[in-house]
Amino acid sequence: MKTVVVTGATSGIGFAVAQAMLALGWRVLLVGHTLENGEKALGALCNAFPQGEMACFSGDLMQQREVHRVADELNAYLALHAQGRLEALVNNAGAVRTWYTTTQEGLEQQFALNHLAGFLLTHRLMPALRLGGGRMMLTSSASHKHCRVHFDDIMYRRRRYSALGAYKQSKLCNVMFAAAFNRRYAAEGLRAYAVDPGLVATDIGFKQTGGLVKLVWALRKAQGVPAERPARTFAALCAGEPEPAGLYWYDGHVARHDPHADRTADQDRLFALSEKLCGIASFGGNV
């Protein structure tokens, strides 16, 4: 049996991905923000897939301490139940913030969760991904287009904070991380994809946001497709044989991403900065 880890799995796109992977007969390890939501999601999935193998883990992934704890628990679970192998990792957890807010490490929250959390969790699960010849996916967004990474002020400390600007930048980071990952690890049989889910009717714009973000999202959400739609793309990337090509996927096919993401110098700069901010001496190496 193959195993997938899905973060942000208790609602929205992550939950739909968990459903899709259980339907394919995979073992699904859900990671959610709170234990309460995790158990609710697990209950619903157990009803739908009584034979399915699944477990849930919880943590506030924008805090690096929590990523490390969840990674420890996942690695222990994989060692016990899956010979330490992981076939797919879906870094889907993400958030929008109306105001500049920081994590306990003093990092801007959207950058910390939407980019760094996935970076750090992938690092911690690299041994299992290597054993499983795994694929890593990031939930990016078409909003990554027409923006760039402001390396001189990546966490919006000097610029006026923009909820959408910080979101777009973090989603561009997803594409760049996926590209950098492939340059480094494709030769080892590992593979990363950034997925544009399209406009999906989830609650992302309502969680810990206010005012304009809530209003705009209420209007946008009404136009959104159900989360099952992007979940099909994730499922195809997790399970597709032979290994799907391409970097950036939308609605079941390779799509065009912003050429900014292809600049290898910027990819490497982001990679090195992310290692530094996560306290990683060497990505994929020792903790």
Binding site: Q63, Q64, R65, T98, W99, Y100, T101, T102, T103, Q104, E105, G106, L107, Y156, R157, R158, R160, Y161, Q208, G210, G211, K276, L277, C278, G279
Partner: protein, 270 residues
């Protein structure tokens, strides 16, 4: 090398002041109550900035803790150029809804703790250069606020105290700025509060980075009071023009609406 001491450093506002000072090249001394989150933040700063960061667990209301903190600074030969007095606390609920110890905690942390640290810090200041103090008070210090009576009065103490002390110490090259912010989006709880107050909550809320930058700019220029935000400054004028008893009645109406559904005794700041 200049050094800034920050109390309440691992909370939402403490963190942005620490980051602001770090961006200006200050070495940092961080204190807070919780060892784990303090260490997490120290590590986070070390990864982001090339500065010296000393972190010491310290309950500002404990004479022993504060004495030990300054012994450590003395031992390391660290002299202070700046102090951000951020540590503060508030609990949800009116005077009788709170436990008496909670009421007294507000006084102990916000007043006693602040005095204790400030007194010791003035003795540990770098006498060769200017010493700058930021007192974190609140917009609440400008009015009598029913249902936040203890908190508002404790912040009023800081405002009046700092105004007097500024004069007292002006010959010693010490300047004190009192910051009176409205809502700040620091914690999920604070965000909830801002959203619960609807339009006025948002209108009185200021960006943390802007507040941290402007507070520091103004403090270093020797200014004495900073009320962030135009709406808040207008409110502060009302505070000066409307009779205090009428103000108290109006604010009572507003707060009884705003706090509906929040459990008494819930910790709000700190």
């Amino acid at each position: 090398m200049k050094t800034a001491l920050i109390t309440g450093a691992s909370g939402g506002l403490g963190r942005v002041f620490a980051i602001e000072a770090a961006q200006r090249g200050y070495d940092l001394v961080l204190t807070d109550m919780d060892a784990a989150s303090l260490e997490t933040f120290r590590q986070g700063l070390k990864r982001q900035f090339d500065i010296r960061v000393t972190a010491e667990v310290c309950d500002v209301t404990s004479a022993d803790d504060v004495a030990r903190l300054f012994e450590v600074l003395h031992g390391k030969g660290i002299r202070l150029n700046m102090l951000y007095n951020v540590a503060g606390v508030d609990f949800e609920g009116g005077f009788l809804d709170m436990d008496c110890e909670q009421v007294l905690d507000i006084v102990r942390v916000n007043i006693e703790g602040t005095m204790r640290v400030l007194h010791a810090a003035l003795h540990q200041r770098d006498a060769g250069s200017r010493f700058t103090v930021v007192m974190v008070s609140s917009l609440a210090s400008l009015y009598p606020i029913p249902l936040k009576a203890t908190y508002a009065a404790s912040k009023r103490f800081l405002l009046d105290f700092a105004t007097s002390l500024s004069q007292e110490l002006s010959g010693l090259n010490v300047s004190i700025l009192t910051l009176c912010p409205g809502g700040l989006p620091t914690t999920p709880g604070a965000l909830q509060g801002i959203n619960a107050q609807g339009f006025w909550g948002r209108a009185t809320t200021n960006s943390l980075t802007v507040v941290a930058r402007r507070t520091t700019d103004r403090a270093l220029k020797g200014r004495h009071l900073y009320i962030p935000g135009v709406v808040n400054r207008l409110f502060s004028l009302c505070g000066a023009l409307i009779p205090r008893e009428l103000l108290a009645r109006l604010l009572f109406l507003r707060w009884s609406q705003a706090r509906q559904g929040r459990p008494a005794g819930e910790k709000l700041v700190g």
